[in-house]
């Protein structure tokens, strides 16, 4: 029987989008379901898709992925505006971005 486990996640440390991203990225190895757990945070049910994965493996995979996704979220929060600025600047003289039709009149 495939391993399964439930993990409690502190909502102050990780957002629900971070939890969902972690489950998505691990979809080859496990299936997951997130549900609210009172004021404390979230309860995440994890079920292995591969027979050789243990409960400890599931928890290790999930926690490692949570950290990665959280780092990604932090970098995004700090740099999304800058990324848009750089891309707009990069293509501003390429002819790809045309004038705004509303401003042509």
């Amino acid at each position: 029987m495939a391993a399964e486990t439930t993990v409690e996640v502190d909502a102050e440390l990780y957002s629900v989008s971070v939890i969902e991203s972690a489950i998505y990225r691990l979809a080859l190895s496990l299936a997951g379901r997130v549900s609210p757990a009172g004021n404390l945070g979230y309860r995440v049910y994890l079920a292995a898709k591969q027979a050789d994965l243990t409960e400890e493996d599931l928890q290790h995979l999930f926690h490692t992925q949570l950290v990665d996704e959280s780092l990604r979220e932090k970098v995004d929060e700090k740099t999304t505006d800058l990324r848009n600025l750089i891309l707009a600047h990069a293509f501003s003289r390429s002819g790809i971005i045309g004038p705004d039709p509303d401003e042509q009149d």
């Binding site: 780092l71 970098v75 740099t79 999304t80 600047h89 990069a90 390429s94």
Partner: protein, 504 residues
């Protein structure tokens, strides 16, 4: 955000300048204060050795230990840390001494993606669907040799040429596809004549490549190819028994014929005008060294280790499913390792797919390889005109159509204009929905600058151009190869020097 200096007081940190008498700012002026930097946008990928590959929009990357990445993100790197200078130089952070960082990064992003503005450089003509071979892995449903409704008409060729010359790209490659393209030499000549004629006023750099199995190569055809500077791309799957099993030819020795005709073509057209591709079947697994030896024996300077694609007879005949991504990855690595051994012995030879990825890792320019681009190369890197006049954004799109799935059909030469095709909702939908920058998992993946979208593959696998990347064989294969190449480069030994030379 790091403030942009606005007055003299802001600029002065050094004691020399503090007196107001010095000409130069003191050394410590250029040392940022702790925590005074901001991050530039980047993505990250957790490597198998537990380090992180961190890459920016221009594809520059560094490998960081977990604790260093956390220090970087939390603003805790010290300016005196050697890593600080490296990360600043590679545009992962900026401070008050690096005010041009955003401009520089924008220029690098534009350079990396300059091909997007110059669409579409590859125009493929399916001159005929007829073929004289019966390969079990054929990605296009073959037809018999009977000349009937399976050749491209001159009317369609003329319209396709008009399309090709509307492309903004200053360079156009015409590729002749099949079936077996040489079975419709009249059509091939019509394309070349029409292209040369139109180019007198267009003035583009044009190039012709015939994809052919070389079984019906006449002296007359070779002479014509020489006269018109037409290159040849053929198929060579490995040693005699493997090639003949993969590519049956009416009970004849297809291997012997293709080897002889490679030599003939090379003698007439020159060594650089003849190239070959191989396809990996389950029969190829475990024989990669023999395949590479065969390519060297045949005088080639590279091999492209290609997996099967999920189209045509490869699906119907189940050949596609005869091996898993892991098996192909092991085959690929064994092959590249063998080639590196040969290089160390002085034999100049390279693997083409590795070279493309290495260029993406090491070069400031982008590559034109259709399957590793973002946005996807569909339509904007290459377009294909089918024998019946149908227009697809890629060779794979028309392969799907041969399986009665027309999801990738962009229009028809009979009734579609250039604008109909290139401004079509369908093309926009495929490009935008499959865009890695906005696809789950890809969006934060540090390997994104070296990978691509391949909407045809994902559509063929899951009926979704985006696909689920955690379950995608395309993702699994590319991730494994890119990780492996990055780790190999990082060893900084003789083998990494050879790999670096492939990426130059």
């Amino acid at each position: 955000m790091v403030p942009i200096p606005t007055n003299k007081t802001d600029l002065v940190h050094g004691s020399l300048h503090a007196t107001g008498k010095g000409k130069f700012r003191a050394y410590n002026h250029f040392e940022p204060q702790r925590g005074s930097y901001d991050l530039l946008p980047f993505r990250l990928h957790h490597m198998p050795d537990d380090r992180y590959l961190v890459s920016n929009e221009a594809g520059e990357y560094v490998l960081l230990a977990s604790q260093d990445l956390k220090r970087l993100v939390e603003g805790k790197l010290e300016p005196t840390d050697p890593l600080y200078a490296d990360l600043s130089a590679a545009h992962f952070l900026y401070d008050e001494t690096s005010n041009s960082a955003i401009d520089l990064l924008a220029v690098k992003v534009r350079t990396k993606r300059d091909r997007v503005a110059d669409f579409t450089s590859l125009h493929m003509f399916v001159l005929t669907l007829r073929c004289n071979q019966s390969c079990p892995y054929c990605q296009v449903s073959r037809q018999s040799e009977d000349r009937a409704a399976f050749d491209m008409s001159e009317e369609h060729i003329d319209k396709a040429l008009d399309f090709a010359f509307r492309s903004p790209s200053p360079a156009i490659k015409f590729e002749f596809q099949g079936g077996e393209s040489l079975l419709n030499m009249e059509g091939l000549r019509h394309v070349v004549t029409g292209a040369r004629q139109r180019n007198r006023s267009a003035g583009k750099a044009i190039e012709f490549v015939a994809a052919t199995n070389l079984t019906s190569l006449s002296d007359e055809t070779l002479e014509y190819f020489k006269q018109e500077d037409i290159h040849v791309s053929t198929s060579l799957d490995g040693p005699q028994d493997l090639h003949n099993e993969n590519r049956p030819y009416k009970g004849k020795d297809a291997f012997g014929i293709v080897r002889r005709n490679i030599e003939r073509a090379r003698r007439v057209l020159g060594p650089d005008s003849v190239s070959a591709l191989m396809t990996t079947t389950s029969k190829s697994l475990g024989r990669v060294k023999e395949i590479i030896d065969e390519y060297i024996e045949a005088g080639f300077s590279e091999v492209f280790l290609r997996p099967l694609s999920p189209y045509g007879f490869a699906i119907r005949g189940r050949a596609f499913y005869e091996y898993e991504p892991d098996e192909w990855i092991a085959f690929f690595k064994e092959g590249v390792n063998y080639i590196l051994d040969l290089n160390a012995q002085g034999i100049q030879f390279r693997e083409a797919y590795s070279s493309i990825i290495l260029q993406k890792l090491l070069s400031p320019s982008g590559t034109g390889f259709v399957n590793l681009q973002s946005p996807a190369g569909v339509g904007i890197a290459g377009i294909i005109y089918n024998y019946d006049g149908a227009i697809y954004g890629s060779d794979e799109g028309r392969m799907l159509a041969e399986m009665e799935d027309h999801a990738m059909l962009l229009g028809h030469l009979d009734d579609s204009t250039f604008e109909d095709v290139f401004l079509s909702e369908r093309l926009f939908a495929v490009l935008s929905e499959s865009l890695p920058e906005s696809s789950p998992m890809c969006t934060g993946c540090g390997l994104l600058p070296y990978c691509g979208a391949d909407p045809d593959y994902h559509y063929a696998q899951s009926r979704d151009v985006r696909g689920h990347k955690a379950l995608s064989g395309f993702c699994q294969k590319n991730m494994a190869i890119i990780e492996w190449l990055v780790e190999s480069l990082d060893r900084d030994d003789e083998r990494s020097q050879i790999l670096r030379s492939w990426g130059e």
